[in-house]
């Protein structure tokens, strides 16, 4: 840590001092001048005949086990932050009994302070303590607070949809490490998101982050599924430090509508108002070297969602489970192999659950970059024929200007990917983090509920109708996800799938899913 100093007057270890070498004889036996006297041993002693510690780390190794405890902690540089917030994190340092323990506990404190996202820099210094107590020291911390506001503006492109996002945030206005953020997102497909978020890390001193979010989302799925989804509600979240576990409760008013009036009957049945009340648990274990360009490591993510948590029996209850796994194995210094698996299931809860339809907004969709390459976004899975326009433009006799079917999504999802990732030879591309990959993807999704078939028959058909594709391309990792430019060849597909043969590009917004 910058400015850390060890206690002054640290005595050299008497055991480390060896006997002084015997004085050489003035003359050798044959009369030639004897060997020159050895240089005096350096001050501070050392090992038997050795030099003293050469640097701080060696000196620290000598004294790290010595009794030492922090008796006073002083923090400086607070403008808005309440000192209690910081001293509460630093208290664990008092439990240390040796320098090594102090160092370890200080590292933990720094991590906890970093979680608060309040400080641009933190510097600490250990000073000698009371002269009457030689095994004590004082800890002085210098803090530089981050600005109280933050702003971000960005544009993104995903498939055929471009979007603009702006967020404005306030940080630590009241001094209790609270954060507030207002975000606006608007896309070319007329989707929009407005959200106001409040969160506080280290909630009541525990290693958990509490969050409340009010949102108003308008998601246009008209292009692929002929419906527009408006969701308004509130979300409460608890996330542990490190992000390993998190719990989220969503209470939202959901309205599905079809402004185009071309929706298929399967989508028309889903239109209208509904209430979403769900509790979700996320487990996120990521030991990859890097999420953008993993060269080694494994990652596992699981989400369990229980919906319909309302006293009213009208609210449809369901359970939704999704599991994602990625494993990267280094082959050579610049080449790695990545294997990814993803599976999901959505089922209503209760009697005759297979005879009750699931909500289209909760289903799984497959297709597109980051999901199943070689297919359009949401281009794989069950579909239903849209209403055909009575009046059609004379140049569009084959309806080629309009998609003929709605993607309905599936209750069951399974996909896998294998890819060889390799660095590109050009140094500038390596510096940008751009790399190449060759991949094989496979996946399938289907409806289980109200399918009109026995469950066994559905599962058999699911296994027999997997889609697959292969290809190669370039990957551009960014902080918002990976952007890919690929050449893809679909290998197997169904009649109503929307295949994308040839060049395909897009964002895989969640790097984890970029298999």
């Amino acid at each position: 840590m910058d400015g850390e100093r060890f206690p002054d007057g640290a005595e050299a270890d008497p055991d480390a001092q060896g006997d002084a070498p015997p004085p050489p004889p003035d003359r050798a036996a044959d009369g030639s001048p004897g060997p020159q006297p050895a240089a005096d041993p350096p001050a501070g002693g050392g090992g038997e005949g050795r030099d003293g510690p050469k640097d701080v780390s060696e000196l620290f190794d000598l004294v790290k086990d010595r009794p030492c405890r922090v008796t006073e902690i002083e923090g400086r540089g607070f403008k808005r932050t309440r000192p209690l917030l910081v001293t509460r994190e630093m208290e664990r340092v008092r439990e240390a009994r040796t320098l090594e323990e102090i160092q370890g506990h200080l590292a933990e404190c720094m991590a906890a302070l970093e979680d608060l996202d309040l400080f641009a820099s933190v510097e600490g210094e250990l000073l000698e303590g009371d002269k009457d107590s030689p095994d004590t020291c004082r800890l002085v911390m210098e803090f530089e607070e981050k600005p109280p506001w933050k702003m971000h503006v960005g544009t993104y492109v995903q498939g055929h949809e471009g979007s603009v996002e702006a967020t404005v945030g306030l940080r630590n206005l009241l001094g209790n490490a609270e954060h507030a953020q207002l975000s606006l997102d608007y896309s070319s497909q007329k989707s929009s998101e407005y959200a106001f978020q409040l969160w506080k890390p280290r909630l009541v001193g525990l290693p958990w982050k509490g969050e409340v979010k009010l949102f108003n989302w308008l998601r246009s799925n008209q292009q692929y599924s002929s419906f527009v989804e408006r969701i308004r509600g509130v979300s409460f979240g608890l996330k542990c430090s490190g992000g390993l576990h998190s719990f989220t409760y969503d209470l939202a008013w959901r309205l599905l509508s079809d402004p185009s009036r071309l929706a298929s009957p399967a989508i028309c049945e889903q239109l209208g108002h509904s209430l979403k009340s769900s509790l979700a648990y996320d487990f996120n274990w990521d030991k990859r070297e890097s999420s953008g360009r993993p060269k080694s490591g494994r990652a596992f993510r699981m989400r369990t969602e229980l919906g319909g948590l309302a006293p009213d029996s009208i609210v449809a209850k369901y359970i939704r489970e999704q599991v994602d796994l990625q494993w990267t194995l280094p082959l050579f210094s610049t080449v790695s192999f990545t294997l990814g698996l993803s599976a999901g299931m959505l089922l209503p809860v209760g009697q005759d659950f297979l005879h009750r339809k699931t909500a289209v907004g909760d289903r799984f969709f497959l297709g597109g970059v980051g999901s199943l390459r070689g297919f359009e976004a949401r281009g794989v899975g069950p579909t239903d024929a849209r209403r055909r326009r009575t009046e059609q433009p004379s140049h569009d006799a084959d309806h080629v200007g309009a998609q003929a079917r709605d993607a309905l999504g599936g209750d069951l999802l399974c996909s896998a990917s294998a890819a060889v990732n390799f660095d590109l030879p050009h140094s500038s591309l390596q510096w940008l983090g751009v790399y190449g990959h060759a991949f094989f993807n496979a996946g399938n999704t289907m409806l289980l509920c109200c399918s009109g078939r026995p469950l066994r028959s559905s599962l058999q058909e699911f296994g027999a109708s997997f889609r697959s594709s292969a290809g190669a391309g370039l990957v551009f990792p960014t902080v918002f996800g990976t952007f890919e430019l690929n050449y893809v060849v679909p290998l197997t597909f169904s009649n109503f799938d929307r295949v994308k043969h040839g060049m395909q590009m897009g964002f895989a917004s969640t790097p984890f899913l970029n298999m």
């Binding site: 009957p265 209430l275 009213d312 609210v315 359009e376 326009r389 050009h426 060849v489 679909p490």
Partner: protein, 337 residues
């Protein structure tokens, strides 16, 4: 050709809880059309987002996009225009003079009765409380209250600036005029313009039967209708002749494409008359021909060879070459230490 009417479900002895739906159904029945009724008690679940909505072949007719439940009369008018446009004009038998009378009476109904119906249903506290129960049992709490209140707010905005006193006074005056008109026409037939019903009969039947039967109707409106024997006879004649039976629901939908696909898939590509696994439908820019497994296998093999060649034989991207000067510096460092 069949018509499918998406409407609010029946209740309170009425064919529908929505006056607009009653009016549209009346016109369809007057025209003798084959009508199926898709009942729903879920607001917003109509394919157009509000009731009534009419499906006919590939057409879907309803109120303008973005209109909610407060736009039921706009939806009704759009549907009636469509029906007329399909050649099913229930006013086709009217003379020019009758058409003139029709226009005047329709305007009276629109200006005087529609606001009263909306007000007593959505704004009058007692009426709204009873009508809101139609949402309960269909939507979960608190959504039933939220959705109902959202529609109420839209109706309040629609009737902004009109006092309830004026609304009910004009409605009462309109009912009296209608009653006089019907009494005056009874010598010529059972309906407004003779023995054949017209669109005016459908409009009047919807409002007057609603005031008569629905518990949400304001007492002054209900009294005005039930106290007039001519009106009651008129309403009963329409009910007994055209609304004896509920319209049946549409038949189960057959999905020809998927059924055909399953049967066809059992045959070979050649037997199906297809060259390869080319998708039947395409999007944006014409048909795509995808060459399957044969070329894909060769492509994969080529890609695999290229990957292996790159992995094993590509030169390292950065080469470190020691110069004599660097080596000399190293030796000097060794001497100094």
């Amino acid at each position: 050709m069949n018509y499918v009417l998406h409407k609010w479900s029946a209740g309170w002895g009425l064919p529908s809880l929505s006056v607009g739906c009653i009016q549209v159904e009346a016109v369809l029945r007057f025209a003798g059309l084959n009508v199926y009724a898709q009942h729903s008690r879920l607001p917003g679940s109509s394919p157009t987002g509000q009731f009534p909505a009419l499906e006919h072949d590939n057409d879907l007719v309803g109120a303008p996009v973005g209109t909610g439940d407060e736009g039921e009369f706009d939806a009704m008018r759009a549907v009636m225009e469509y029906i007329k446009g399909q050649g099913e004009d229930v006013d086709g038998h009217l003379t020019n003079a009758q058409r003139g009378e029709l226009a005047g009476m329709v305007a009276l109904v629109q200006v005087a009765l529609e606001p009263a119906t909306l007000y007593t249903t959505w704004i009058e506290p007692e009426g709204f409380k009873k009508y809101q129960k139609a949402y309960s049992g269909v939507l979960p709490w608190p959504l039933d209250h939220v959705v109902a209140w959202e529609t109420r707010r839209a109706v309040v905005k629609k009737l902004e600036g009109i006092s309830p006193q004026k609304i009910f006074e004009e409605a009462v005056a309109a009912i009296e005029s209608i009653a006089d008109f019907i009494e005056g026409q009874q010598s010529k037939g059972s309906y407004c313009f003779g023995d054949q019903p017209s669109s005016l009969d459908a409009l009047m039947y919807g409002h007057l039967q609603y005031y008569r039967m629905a518990p949400v109707a304001a007492p002054i409106l209900q009294r005005k209708v039930t106290a007039n024997a001519s009106l009651l006879r008129y309403l009963d004649s329409i009910s007994s002749r055209f609304f004896q039976e509920e319209a049946s629901p549409p038949p189960p939908r057959i999905i020809p494409e998927e059924a055909d696909e399953e049967i066809l898939s059992r045959w070979s590509m050649a037997a199906q008359g297809r060259r390869s696994d080319v998708p039947q439908s395409s999007d944006e820019g014409g048909r795509e021909n995808v060459h399957l497994k044969k070329t894909a296998k060769w492509w994969l093999a080529f890609a695999g060879i290229m990957m292996a060649a790159y992995a094993f034989y590509h030169p390292p991207p950065i080469r470190v070459q020691y110069t004599d000067a660097m080596l000399d510096d190293d030796e000097d460092d060794d001497v100094d230490s």
